[in-house]
């Protein structure tokens, strides 16, 4: 295992210490692994809290700031945060207008946020939770854990954050978050596995000419293995899966997201392929993100996330955002 770390069990807190040093706009509670905006709470504004396992940076801590999250809870590597952290974050960002919990749909995340919401309720903090589940690689069903939450989380955090910044109510912010989730689909591909520091070796092994299709963001193996193919064909496989679940139409917000170890030049090349696919299907990419936004440590690979925009959602997407990971408009 080759990593720029001191010891596996210190990675998360030492990285948070680095974030604290790098971003004066954030207030980083390294001990409790809770990141808030400096000067939280914002009185009268709905507070947005998200969080999840570490190893997905810049998600979530890198999205704390004006126009996006108020707080992020960093769990251990690939392990959801605990209720105490979420409660602490909820208390710190409650400006009296209630708090939205943005939860990626994993059993652990759902259970821990749920417990935190109950604890917050005991303290009369109004909490609404939105569960993100956009991964079309996972068949949805009432009887299973359901779909994973992946790339849509970035869109939900940005758009709900923009609406909250405008002074909307908790119900309105929760509604737009749910709307973005419903309009968004994702699919991920791995060229290599990642290595969890405490595990010390790659979570799975791929042959030199093999790729994993339908992976999540925790180094879980995907749904199937396939031979390595040209980027154009891989992009088509990904887009076919998304298009089959939610037909592409109208103006789209598209993210070509790197899993952490894929160079930007490959992501741009892949975005070009995705753009051609979308155009070939009579839709149009009117907004985009190309880069590392929701990663899986050093994994090589990418995911595509597609959201069907309305004018309102586009405006909220364009609204100013000022976070370490996403920044424009002011």
């Amino acid at each position: 295992m080759k990593k720029l770390i001191n010891s596996p069990d210190m990675v998360v807190s030492e990285a948070l210490a680095g974030m604290a040093a790098a971003h004066p706009s954030l207030s980083v509670d390294v001990e409790n692994k809770v990141i808030t905006r400096a000067g939280s709470p914002t009185a009268g504004k709905v507070g947005l809290v998200s969080g999840g396992g570490s190893g997905h940076e810049p998600l979530h801590g890198g999205f704390v700031g004006h126009g996006m999250l108020d707080a992020a809870c960093a769990g251990e590597m690939f392990t959801s945060p605990v209720p105490d952290q979420v409660l602490m974050a909820t208390q710190r960002v409650d400006g009296g207008a209630g708090v939205l919990h943005i939860v990626k749909n994993y059993t652990g995340d759902v259970l821990n946020f749920q417990m935190a919401a109950e604890l917050a309720d005991d303290e009369d903090i109004e909490v609404v939770s939105v569960v993100v589940n956009d991964d079309v690689a996972v068949q949805d069903s009432l009887y299973t854990a359901g779909r994973r939450g992946v790339g849509a989380t970035v869109f939900v955090e940005k758009i709900a954050g923009a609406l909250a910044e405008r002074g909307a109510s908790l119900a309105e912010v929760a509604a737009v978050a749910a709307e973005v989730n419903e309009r968004t689909r994702s699919f991920g591909v791995a060229l290599t596995s990642c290595t969890v520091p405490a595990a010390g070796k790659p979570t799975f092994d791929l042959a030199e000419q093999e790729i994993e299709l339908g992976i999540g963001i925790h180094g879980e193996p995907g749904r199937t293995r396939a031979p390595l193919r040209p980027a154009r064909d891989i992009a088509a496989t990904v887009m076919d899966a998304i298009n089959a679940d939610l037909p592409l139409e109208g103006d789209l917000l598209v993210m070509v997201n790197g899993m952490g170890g894929t160079p930007l030049i490959e992501l741009y090349l892949t975005f070009g392929e995705v753009n051609q696919y979308v155009a070939g299907h009579g839709a149009r990419i009117s907004r985009n993100l190309v880069g590392n936004y929701i990663t899986s440590l050093e994994m090589q690979g990418f995911s595509v996330t597609v959201c069907g925009l309305t004018q309102t959602l586009a405006d909220l997407w364009d609204a100013p955002v000022q976070t370490p990971g996403l920044r424009w408009g002011r």
């Binding site: 396992g53 769990g75 251990e76 590597m77 690939f78 392990t79 959801s80 945060p81 605990v82 209720p83 105490d84 994993y106 059993t107 652990g108 259970l111 821990n112 417990m115 991964d135 690689a137 996972v138 068949q139 009887y143 299973t144 854990a145 994973r148 969890v196 405490a198 595990a199 979570t203 799975f204 999540g216 925790h218 180094g219 879980e220 193996p221 749904r223 199937t224």
Partner: protein
């Protein structure tokens, strides 16, 4: 069985999950995200430390502190699930200074009920429930049949081992492993495996006492 007995149990679990840490993590790597061993080692070590510091006079207070510590230290799916299991067991034991076999059986049934209520997993979905449910049933049955303590604990762990083993051919419908669909078949569920370890720790502590 008094508070010392239950403290010894938690301490034994901490030791076992630490030694089995890599094994559990590798099971999780196959169908999950390679952290189950790390999660449980972190959690039960913290529980042992908490018990060493706090004053826990009754079996119930020992398991209550254990459950709360797991919930605040583990995270992931197993944290809330195991945490709730121990908290429910604690509530079942109440404030009694001692717990006899039937009381322990009721506590384990309460633990199972807590896990299934929270996680909504039923038998055969490839989760810790597939080890815990048969183990609890076998334990209660043995006691109802008037089995000796030794025999009752043997029934408990035999059923847990079998239950964990039986998860291998299952396709996961709950938890992270469910994302693999058919590819989850052929691997033992890490949570079922850790449940078996936890119950073995209970049996070992009990046999040491009687010995």
């Amino acid at each position: 069985m008094d508070a010392d007995f239950f403290r010894a149990w938690i301490s034994e679990i901490a030791t076992v999950v630490e030694t089995q840490r890599d094994h559990l993590t590798q099971l999780d790597a196959a169908i999950g995200d390679a952290d189950h061993g790390t999660n449980l080692a972190r959690g039960f070590t913290a529980a042992r430390t908490a018990l060493a510091r706090a004053d826990t006079p009754t079996p119930g207070s020992v398991l209550l502190l254990t459950g709360s510590t797991l919930i605040s230290k583990v995270g992931g799916a197993s944290g809330p699930l195991y945490g709730t299991a121990f908290r429910r067991a604690a509530k079942a034991l109440g404030d009694e200074p001692q717990a006899d076999l039937p009381a322990l059986a009721q506590a384990l049934e309460a633990a199972l009920a807590g896990v299934t209520k929270l996680g909504a997993a039923s038998d055969g979905q490839k989760t810790m429930v597939d080890a815990l449910a048969p183990a609890v049933a076998a334990f209660s049955q043995a006691i109802a049949d008037g089995a000796s303590e030794t025999a009752a604990f043997a029934a408990l762990t035999d059923a847990a081992d079998a239950g964990a083993h039986n998860t291998i051919p299952m396709q996961a419908l709950k938890g992270r492993a469910s994302y693999l669909g058919p590819r989850s078949v052929g691997h033992e569920d890490p949570g079922a495996a850790s449940t078996a370890l936890i119950l073995h720790a209970l049996r070992d502590v009990a046999s040491r006492q009687t010995a």
